[in-house]
């Protein structure tokens, strides 16, 4: 008891000490098991590869050079392209949904719940559900064959199309929710005022709704783009090795290909892209806030 009082009295005068006492276990965990491994990985991306996995001591930048071979650049390009396309599609599909939800009245809660639900649902299960529909013996092909519309199964999967379907359905909720919450804050009297003053629907949309929902659009785009960039499961299950993305390249280096340093270097290229996205986000966020103000 006296010890407790003494500690309270001592630390009460030193807020920083108390803050660090509270934070140190969590911060230490993050340093040791998050930051340190990342640094370690960066180090190993600059070291020579050992045959069948592992690293040798030494210094080399050959793994970053290797990345500029067409095979790997192609995967990088595909990753960026898929992620951008996924973000655009999510925006096109998500914005109208978010907009409708804000005006749904008593249905609002249910509609929001239905968007949140997939977020809590296992990603593997959701991806499998798409496989179940799209594979050769899947529901779509079975139905089409039964109705006689086609004679042999459509090659829906594995394909880039299937990967896109998987990415969009996987990350769509991340787009809807931020846009919804910024649309929710929009004051309806602004729209009424615009209408009274003679603004047409298109003008009301581009001059009021769009600028004011910009923070949500920007945040949603980041929340979709980043996991899409880093995705692995989707392309693995739905792309069948034909539509590999960066995640699959990295994974392969540590398993079958057994080139750890090259895998590390590829991971860092991926991290660099994520950081670029965050950087663009921070810039756009400030602009969006300026626009909304």
């Amino acid at each position: 008891m006296n010890l407790r009082l003494a500690w309270l009295r001592w630390s009460g005068r030193r807020p920083a000490v108390r803050a660090w006492a509270l934070m140190s276990p969590g911060a230490a965990w993050l340093l040791l098991f998050f930051l340190l491994p990342l640094l370690f990985m960066f180090g190993s991306s600059l070291m020579p590869a050992r045959l069948y996995g592992g690293v040798d001591l030494g210094f080399t930048v050959e793994h970053y050079k290797q990345f500029f071979e067409p095979v790997y650049l192609w995967i990088l390009w595909r990753t960026v392209l898929y992620s951008l396309a996924c973000t655009a599609l999510c925006l096109l599909m998500g914005f109208p949904v978010a907009y409708v939800i804000t005006r749904a009245g008593s249905w609002k809660n249910l509609l929001v719940f239905l968007v949140v639900l997939p977020f809590w649902t296992s990603f593997i299960v959701r991806t499998f559900a798409i496989m179940f529909l799209m594979r050769d013996t899947g529901v779509i092909n079975t139905v089409l064959l039964a109705t006689g519309l086609i004679d042999e199964p459509l090659a829906l999967m594995p394909s880039g199309l299937a990967v896109m379907v998987g990415l969009v359905s996987g990350f769509l909720p991340f787009m809807v929710l931020p846009i919804y919450s910024s649309l929710e804050k929009l004051d309806p009297s602004l729209l009424e005022a615009a209408e009274v003053l003679g603004a047409r629907p298109v003008a009301r949309f581009t001059k009021i709704i769009l600028p004011l929902s910009m923070p949500g659009i920007v945040a949603g785009s980041l929340l979709v783009f980043i996991p899409a960039l880093g995705s692995y499961v989707t392309a693995d299950l739905l792309g069948g090795g034909k539509s590999d993305m960066m995640g699959n390249l990295v994974q392969r280096q540590f398993t079958t290909a057994g080139n750890w340093p090259f895998g590390s270097a590829s991971s860092f290229v991926m991290m660099a892209m994520v950081l670029c996205a965050v950087f663009v986000y921070l810039q756009q966020r400030d602009r969006a806030q300026a626009m909304g103000a």
Partner: protein, 254 residues
């Protein structure tokens, strides 16, 4: 609008429906529960469920504790190095899972090869899940802390409670829903994780997502549908419970 909702939910609905189909193929042959009863015969599925629960509970407990402490330190105190801690918190949120998994694989692999330190894979998995989850718990709890009324604590202390009593009687009950939703988020992410776990797993530590993944790739029979349905129902129950719990606030400011 409806199309988007169908796009999100129809695949899952179809998946559930066909888990009750009395055929290996996707033509409806009548209702059956045999794919469910078959699950119990598969020792690997039962074992993996057990591993998943262990990993999920252990990593949730640790990350909820550490994350809450971090949130308290960050929200309640001004100090030097705050920005550094904050950036440290946001790195895991933006880092792709595959990178997290690979970097830890490298760390544990080198510990074994260079120093002869062997980390059991279940420990490695828990460590990884905690590292990934702390930030999410902290963000959720901190949001709750910032919306809280500090006057209550001060009132309690004015009325003679010491700081520790005020903390346990006033702060913790108010904070509880935040900790709970943070913990729920952590548990779902841990229970659901395939990418990180698959890189760190070893013999005997396959989690449920790993078994489902392997089954989904081979996809021979509707048992995958059955186990997926069970997970879906489990998730729904969990969300419902958490919704209930966060509504029952033991102490409100009114």
């Amino acid at each position: 609008m409806t199309a988007v909702y169908l796009f999100l939910h129809l695949p899952l609905l179809v998946l559930v429906v066909f888990s009750f189909n009395d055929s290996k193929f996707v033509t409806w042959e009548g209702f059956t529960l045999r794919w469910y009863s078959r699950l119990w015969d598969r020792q690997d599925i039962v074992d993996s469920l057990w591993v998943s629960l262990q990993v999920g509970l252990a990593s949730t407990a640790i990350s909820a504790l550490l994350g809450t402490l971090l949130a308290l330190g960050l929200a309640r105190h001004r100090f030097r190095g705050r920005t550094a801690v904050e950036s440290l918190l946001y790195v895991p949120v933006a880092t792709p899972e595959i990178v997290v998994g690979i970097s830890l694989l490298l760390l544990f692999g080198s510990l074994r090869m260079q120093l002869g330190v062997d980390t059991p894979s279940i420990v490695a998995i828990v460590i990884a899940h905690v590292a990934f989850n702390i930030s999410f718990v902290t963000i959720v709890v901190r949001a709750r802390l910032e919306g809280m009324d500090r006057n209550l604590e001060e009132a309690a202390m004015t009325l003679g409670a010491d700081e520790v009593t005020a903390f346990w009687k006033i702060t913790v009950p108010q904070l509880w829903p935040g900790i709970l939703s943070g913990a729920l988020l952590a548990f779902t992410m841990s229970f659901d994780d395939y990418v990180i776990t698959s890189l760190l797993t070893g013999p005997g530590t396959s989690t449920l997502p790993i078994v489902i993944y392997t089954m989904a790739r081979k996809n021979i029979e509707p048992s995958v549908n059955a186990i997926s349905t069970i997970i879906l129902v489990g998730t729904a129950v969990l969300i419902w419970i958490s919704d209930r719990l966060s509504r029952d606030k033991p102490l409100t400011s009114h």
